[in-house]
Every structure is written in structure tokens, then in C-alpha cells.
Point group: C2
Chain length 301, copies 2
DNA sequence: ACTCCTTTTTTGTCCTGGACAAATTAAATA
DNA sequence: TATTTAATTTGTCCAGGACAAAAAAGGAGT
């Protein structure tokens, strides 16, 4: 079976590497080395697309492209080596349980995973379920993806099923009617929604009035939505995969677009490395988010 | 309050128009006409970004860029005029009810919308709920967005809340264990998920074993997932907004990637204008999708 | 008037190769 | 060992040309 070659647009879609990057890598490093079709346009064999995807994965993990492209195929070793993050001791029972849940996904047994998680939710209650089950699981899925033991579609299945659990749990809560009114969304190009759902669950538990707008809102629309819904707080989420360099400028631009009386909160793994920004509250952890909520209420009696 | 200018990357993110398109429009039509920053790079005033968004909206509706850019501001009239699609007579009571539901979204009363829809679901049952409530509502939201009476964030809120309802309803169904095993997903750049959820609901009602992988799966990953899950059918969804010219080549490429024994089904409003493709089943309506499911079962006893 | 075929215009995408600034690493200094 | 400075790496942007696929316009035949 011969998989046909990919055009440059298809490679961009499938790898997340922009056309500019693909061309400049070819010029500088000699890789990728697509052949040309009848019109002189680049035509990438599936094999090179796979390799590009691997390189992208390792880059998101912190490696640099120059090194990765130079290395022949021993990357595979460096790949596994770097993800040996030692796990905190003393929680081995818990770790085992989470591992068992991940194994269910790995076996592609979605139904069993869903059932097991439902039980956990009932046992722990929503707050601890989010903080002690969903959040650590998400982290471990990320690690498993980085070290190659999880395929992308395993991650997708995990995400999809977990999203359902969280949404179901949120829908079961009484509708929040008290302040603050919190608008939850993400900027364009940021499509990870799990973090947003987790924080929505926590806020909804506290009785806040959450307005979930889904992901990928253009900045100007976020501003309009905040006015139209008279939101007290606009909460954004940034995943690790989001291009770091853009986050700061993006937040500052949004700050200028938003009504001054609306607070701007940013959370997610992507903002860990960020320094302080004027008029933006950076909330890297759930505890900080809950504390910020309490602070807001104290300041707005 | 002065909203700062946008860089070309920000405009691409917020409007969905590629950098290439933005530059070539400027060269050909003289619009947009960004000023230049200190580095000679394009810098788009927020006003022009808004206008670009409007143009994009009208283009998705079928208008051509050359005309739109030439027209000064009378587009606003042409905009409203074109969406006067006469509604089918005889269903006015039903139309009224749907209109009332839309009005709830428009009033930004998410809670009331959710409650009303829940009632409808209980009354109609899932199948009729999908076909007679969700599908027509989705169509009307699309129309409302095109003629400007819905903001983008209204559409996002509608989508988000409706997704929740559908997922909840699907989760309440007994787990499908019988054939066929259907893998549901969409290709990269296609992020509309409502159609996928609607069809999942219908398939799940028929007892099929649905594997929801969420949206935006790279083609090669879809192939792998189909093998790993031993899927009988891979079902993809394309919205109207998806670039038409790419759909056919994309489907043919995926056909070659998939195991030959796996069927490839494509649905959604985006495939309406498509002609027949070898090895791909085009299913523009829900009825056709259900018929295809029945056919599959008849052929695989 | 309507359909089918051909020609022209429109429009998006791709190309080359240069430039530069922000981020990162390496070197040098206190 | 810290902290500043120089060098390198790397992503993004630019200009302007080219081309093919899609859409519109024109023409011939039934």
C-alpha cells in the first residue's frame, strides 16, 4: 500500500509547522527534503511527515530543532530518556489507580474508562475529582504522549471522554446566579478545553455565574462578549502547546480591548514561564484561581 | 479608548484570512491598507480588522471578494438582503418555538435556553430532538450569524450549550456494543463538532459502537486510529466554512491511508456541492446516514 | 429559452531568497 | 558563583512573480 505524498498545506495542517518554517528548515538544515511535483511544488513523502511530527513533539517538550534535525534516529532514545520525571513518593496507591485508568484508554476500552471515572466522581465529589483525578490524569496523558507510549488518538479519546464527564457534572450543578459573572473562553489557535472545563467546574461549585463560550474566540469578539454579558471576569486558558512568545502580547492587547472594569484572568500550563503583566492576573494553579475568586468577592461585597 | 493595531499574524488568527491572502489583496485591490511599524511590518487598525471579518463572513455566504472590497459600505444592505430565505409554510407554530429558543440565546439567558431544550428533549425523544430541534436550530443560527443578527459569541454560546445537551443525552444511552464500530472525527482545520455529535446520537440510538475522537485529527492519525480500534466505518464531518477545494483531495488521500476494509463516510453541510468520489460515501442528510447504517448491517450479517 | 462547451477573468496558493528581531546559548567579566 | 555581554539560533515577515483551479461570461447548437 502506497500512501501518497503530502502537499505543503497538508503538512502544515497535520504537523502544525507553518509553511514558512517548513521552507526555511529545508533551506538551512536540508530537512525535510520533499520531492517536487509537475508544477515544481513541494511534495512530502508520508515518512518525512511522520518524522516532522516526531520532531514537533520533541520541540514542544523543550528540545531545539537544530539538534533534533541533525541527530539521525537516536532521537528515539533521547525521547524516552527525557521523560523520566521521578514521581512523588508516598502516593503510590493513588498513582497505581491513575495508571489503571490510563491503561483502560490504552486498551481502547472507552466504556470501562467512563464507568470507572463515574465511580470516582461519585466517591470523591466534583472538587476533589477535578483536582485529584482529572488534573493529574491530564498531566500524565501529556507525559505519556511525549514519551510516545500514547498515540495522539489515545489522547483524543481520553480528552473527549473526560470532557463529557466534566460537562455532565457541571450540568448537574444548580445554575450559578451569584456574582461574579465569569466568561470562560480561549483565544484563536488555542483549542485545548479541558483546563477551561476544570476551572469552570470549580467556579460553578462556588456558585459563580459561569458563561462558557467554548474555544477560539477572536480577541475583538471576546471584548464584545464581555460587554454584552456584563462579565465581571474574563478567564482564558493557555496550554503548553501554545506559542509562548505570543501569549504576553496577546494578553496585553486583550487588556486594552476589554472594558477596564472587567478583570482578566489567565490560567493553564502555558503561563507558567510568564512574568507579571499589568492588569492581568496570572493563575497557574487551581488553588490560586479559587483564591482569586475569594479575593474578588471580598473586594466586591 | 484606543485599541492598538494588529500584526499580520493576529489578523490571520482573528479573521481566518491567511497572510498570503492579506498581502495579495493589498497588492491587487488596495485593501486592506495597513500602516507600517518601525520595522516596516504591516500594522492593521482594529477598524480594518472588523471590516475584514465582515468581508469574510459575506464570502462564506457565497459572495466574491472582488465585489465586496470594491463596494464601499453599502455591503451592509446587500448583507441583509441576501439572507431573506423564505421559510417553509405550514410549520409556523414550530418555527415560532424555535425562534423563541433563539431569542433566549440572544438575550444571553443561557440557563433558560438549557432548561427549555431539556424539556424539548424529554418530550420529543433523542431522535426527533436531533432531527427536529437541534438541526433546524443550527441552521437558523447559521442564518442569523450571516445576516448579522447574531454575534459570533452568541453562536459560540449556543454551540457550547447545545453540545452539552447532546453529550449528556448520549451518555445516558446504553453503551453500544454491536457492530458496526464507528469512529467519529474531523480533519485538522475543521473544528465544528455539532454535526458530529448529532450523528453520533443517531448512531448510538441504533446501538452502534461509537468511538468519538473529537475534532482535528491529522490524516495519518485517523488511519492509525482506525486500525487500532478496528473500526468498520470512519465518519467525518465537514462544515460549510471548510475550504471547499480541499475536501475532495483530502477525502481521496484519506481513502488511500485507511485500511481498505474500513468504510469512509463523509457528512455535513460542506459536502453538499461535492460530486461522487470513489470509495467514499457522501451522506449529506441524517436520513441518508441512517439508511447507510442499515445498508451496512444488511451487507454484514 | 435552455443546455453544453469554450474562453476569459478572478482568486488563492506556492515559489525564491533576503532580512531582521526575539530568544537562547556561550563567553567574559566582576 | 552571579551577572553582564557577545554570538548564535530560530521564527516570522517581506516583495513580487507565477500558475492552476474555480467562477463567470460568451457562443453555438438543440
Amino acid at each position: 500500500m502506497h500512501i501518497p505524498d503530502f502537499g505543503i498545506a497538508a503538512v502544515e495542517r497535520d504537523t502544525g509547522l507553518s509553511k514558512d518554517v517548513l521552507r526555511v528548515w529545508e533551506r538551512r538544515y536540508g530537512f525535510p527534503a520533499p520531492r517536487r511535483d509537475a508544477n515544481g511544488e513541494r511534495s512530502y513523502p508520508a515518512e518525512q511527515v511522520e518524522r516532522l511530527r516526531l520532531i514537533k513533539r520533541l520541540m514542544d517538550q523543550g528540545h531545539r530543532p537544530g539538534k533534533l534535525i541533525a541527530a539521525a534516529t537516536e532521537e528515539l532514545s533521547g525521547l524516552a530518556a527525557c521523560s523520566l520525571v521521578p514521581r512523588a513518593a508516598g502516593e503510590n496507591g493513588e498513582v497505581e489507580q491513575l495508571g489503571a485508568l490510563l491503561a483502560l484508554i490504552k486498551q481502547r476500552n472507552g466504556a470501562a474508562y467512563q464507568q470507572a471515572m463515574q465511580q470516582r466522581l461519585a466517591r470523591q465529589g466534583l472538587q476533589r475529582f477535578v483536582q485529584d483525578s482529572v488534573a493529574p490524569l491530564t498531566r500524565r496523558v501529556g507525559e505519556a504522549w511525549e514519551d510516545g507510549s500514547f498515540e495522539i488518538f489515545d489522547e483524543h479519546l481520553f480528552t473527549e471522554l473526560t470532557k463529557r464527564l466534566l460537562r455532565q457534572a457541571i450540568a448537574a450543578l444548580p445554575v450559578g446566579r451569584s456574582r461574579p459573572r465569569i466568561l470562560l473562553t480561549s483565544v484563536p489557535d488555542e483549542q485545548h478545553v479541558l483546563g477551561l472545563l476544570m476551572v469552570e467546574a470549580l467556579f460553578a461549585l462556588e456558585g459563580a455565574d459561569c458563561i462558557p463560550l467554548g474555544v477560539q474566540m477572536p480577541l475583538l469578539e471576546i471584548g464584545r462578549a464581555a460587554s454584552a454579558h456584563r462579565a465581571d471576569i474574563v478567564a482564558l486558558s493557555f496550554s503548553v502547546a501554545f506559542p509562548q512568545r505570543q501569549i504576553a502580547v496577546l494578553l496585553q492587547q486583550l487588556r486594552l480591548i476589554l472594558p477596564p472594569e472587567a478583570a482578566l484572568w489567565a490560567g493553564g500550563a502555558g503561563i507558567r514561564r510568564l512574568v507579571k503583566l499589568d492588569g492581568v492576573d496570572l493563575l497557574p494553579t487551581f488553588d490560586m484561581a479559587l483564591a482569586a475568586l475569594a479575593d474578588w468577592r471580598a473586594a466586591h461585597p
